[in-house]
């Protein structure tokens, strides 16, 4: 069965610290991967996406993610976080060849100390 796992439920960092949030997926066939951010009280916004090509994907607000096929991973990174990055982050996977369902991870809550 398809699944997406996020290992960190709650991450607390100080401003300027580096960030890495883990995401692993279990999907058959070609998979498309996303990271979404949800600020308090708001809907999901796309941070970045991977479909093919360069496995290092750059998104908005200084975020990037690396697709490592051998590890079934798509970790999100940011070199220096800001207080405004406080939000919940969701990894998601989609495949046209696997019942066309978008499957989300359980989310990681990121808290940044000023």
């Amino acid at each position: 069965a398809q699944s997406v796992s996020q290992h960190n439920h709650h991450v607390i960092l100080s401003e300027a610290a580096s960030l890495e949030l883990g995401c692993n997926y279990s999907y058959g066939g070609t998979v498309n991967l996303f990271w979404y951010v949800q600020y308090p009280g708001q809907h999901l916004q796309l941070l970045l996406k991977y479909f093919s090509g360069d496995p290092l994907v750059k998104g908005i607000k200084g975020f990037e993610a690396e697709f490592i096929k051998s590890k079934f991973s798509f970790n999100l990174r940011k070199p220096s976080v800001q207080w405004s990055d406080t939000a919940e982050y969701f990894c998601a996977a989609f495949s046209y060849s696997s019942a066309s369902k978008i499957i989300f991870g359980s989310g990681t809550r990121l808290s940044i100390r000023p």
Binding site: L46, K49, K101, F104
Partner: protein, 110 residues
């Protein structure tokens, strides 16, 4: 181009009442989805549709129904509301390389 539009944004229901959450997209996407989001649980797929006239169950379909008579609309129906259906509901559509989400509907069943 409005994207994905959900209505209403907020609703309070009494136990046993019914209601329909509306979702409309103007991007001519075939793939549409309904999710519910509960604290610490991420987004769970309720139902999805790969085109007009085609719907299928997701992870948590019990207590819900959907229809897809047109490409644009994908309403979600709650027939007998229960407190366990208190949640935030998101509709989404996808085409090729991006998924678009509605603003969400916060539903409380009391």
């Amino acid at each position: 181009n409005a994207g994905v539009t959900q209505t209403p944004k907020f609703r309070i229901l009494k136990i046993g009442q019914s209601m329909t959450l509306q979702c409309t997209q103007d991007m001519n996407h075939n793939y549409m989805y309904w999710y519910r989001q509960d604290p610490g649980m991420g987004l769970k797929l309720i139902y999805y549709s790969v085109g007009a006239g085609i719907t299928d169950k997701g992870e948590v379909p019990n207590g819900y129904n959907v229809s897809r008579s047109t490409t644009e609309d994908f309403p979600l129906r709650l027939e007998l509301a229960a407190p366990s259906q208190t949640s935030v509901y998101f509709c989404a559509s996808i085409l090729a390389d991006e998924a678009f989400f509605g603003q969400g509907t916060r539903l409380t069943v009391v």
